[in-house]
Subunit: 192 residues, 2 copies
Amino acid sequence: MDSPGDNPSARPTGDRLSAAQERFVATWGQMGSTWGISRTMAEVHALLYITGEPMCTDDVMERLAISRGNASMSIRSLVDWGIVTRTHKRGDRKEYFQAEQDVWSLLQAIVRERMKRELQPVLASLYEIRDLTASPERSGEVQPEVKTAAHHARIDGMIDLVRTLEQMGEKLVELPKEQLQALAQQIAEPLG
Amino acid sequence: MDSPGDNPSARPTGDRLSAAQERFVATWGQMGSTWGISRTMAEVHALLYITGEPMCTDDVMERLAISRGNASMSIRSLVDWGIVTRTHKRGDRKEYFQAEQDVWSLLQAIVRERMKRELQPVLASLYEIRDLTASPERSGEVQPEVKTAAHHARIDGMIDLVRTLEQMGEKLVELPKEQLQALAQQIAEPLG
DNA sequence: CTGAGATTTCAGAAATTTCTGAAACATCCA
DNA sequence: TGGATGTTTCAGAAATTTCTGAAATCTCAG
C-alpha cells in the first residue's frame, strides 16, 4: 500500500511540521493569486519548495486535493517557468518534480519570465502606439498639433518607465547570483 | 447638448490621436490584468493618464462604455492607490479626476501600495510560520530534528528574499524622484 | 427645509478563470 | 505486438471575479 511515490513528504501527517508546510502553501498561493498567478500553480510550487524533495504527480494531487489534469498543467507551467525541474527515480517510470531551492535563482527565473511575457510585449505596443501618430498626415487633421505633442510626451514617459524597468530586470537576470544578493543589499541599504 | 463634462477629450473623435489613445488604453488594461489588477481599473487609469486632463465619471463611462457603478468603484480605487486625484471645476458640482502625469511618481505610488498590500502581509505570515515550529515541544515529535532544521532554512530563505524586496521597494519609495531616475539608470547600466 | 443633481453601494447577472475527469496519447517491457 | 503504466489534453462544470443598474445616500443651492 501507500502507493503514490512512497514519499513520506507526500502526505500531511498532522504534526506541526506539516501544519507549517500547509500554512506556507496557503500563504504562497494567496500571494500568487494577487500577483496574477493561478493560486494552484503557486501552491504546487510552494509545496515542492517547502518539502524540498522530488514529488510525483500523484503526491501533489493527494497533498493538495486537486485533479490529475490540474496537477499536470500546473506542474508543466512551473517547468516552463524554469523554477521546477523533472527528475526520475531509478526503477520507477514516474516523473518526479523538484523546485529550485535557491531563492535568488528563483527570483531570477521569475523576473526573466515575467519580463519576457509581460513587459516586452507592452514595450513593443508602446512603440507601435507612438508610431500611430508619428508626424506626417497633417492635412485636415482634427486635433491641433500641440495636443499630439503632449500625447507623444506621455507615451514617451511610459516608454521611459517600462524600458528602465526592463533594463533593471535584465541586469538582475544576468548577474551571477552571488553578486545578486550583494546588489540587492546595496540597493536596499545606502540612503540614496 | 454634449452634456457630460463638455470635455472634448471625453469622446473618441475617430481621428488618429483618439485611435492611439484607444490602443494605449487597451494595452495598459491588458497589462494590468496580467499583473493582478482589474482590467477596467487599469483602463480607467490609462484613459486619465493619456488624455492628461480632468474627466468626470460620465466622461469615463461614455469613453469606456462601462456602468456608473463600475466607473465609480474603479475611480475610487485609483484614488485610494494615490495615482489619481479629485479636482473640481468652478460652477460645476461634479467631481473631476486627474491622473498623476509623472511616471516616476506613478512608479513610487504603485510600489508603495503593492508593498503595503501584498508584501508586508506575506512577510508577517512567514514569520508566523517560522514560529510554528520554533523549537520546544521535542517529546514524541513525529519528525526528526534535521527535517525541521531544513524546513527552517527554507522559510528563512523566503524571508530573506521577501525582506530584501521590501527594503528595495522602500528605498525606491523614499527616494526623491529626481534621484529615482538616476538610481534606475545606475542599476540598469553598469555591468555588476 | 426641500429637491435636484451627484455619488456610492451592493445584490444579482454576466464574464472570465480555473478545475475536473475521462479519453487520447505516449512509453516501456514482456 | 499487446498491454500496463504514466502523461497530456480539452470540453464542459464549477468557482471566482467583475460588472450592472437601480436604490440609498450624500450635498448643496434656493
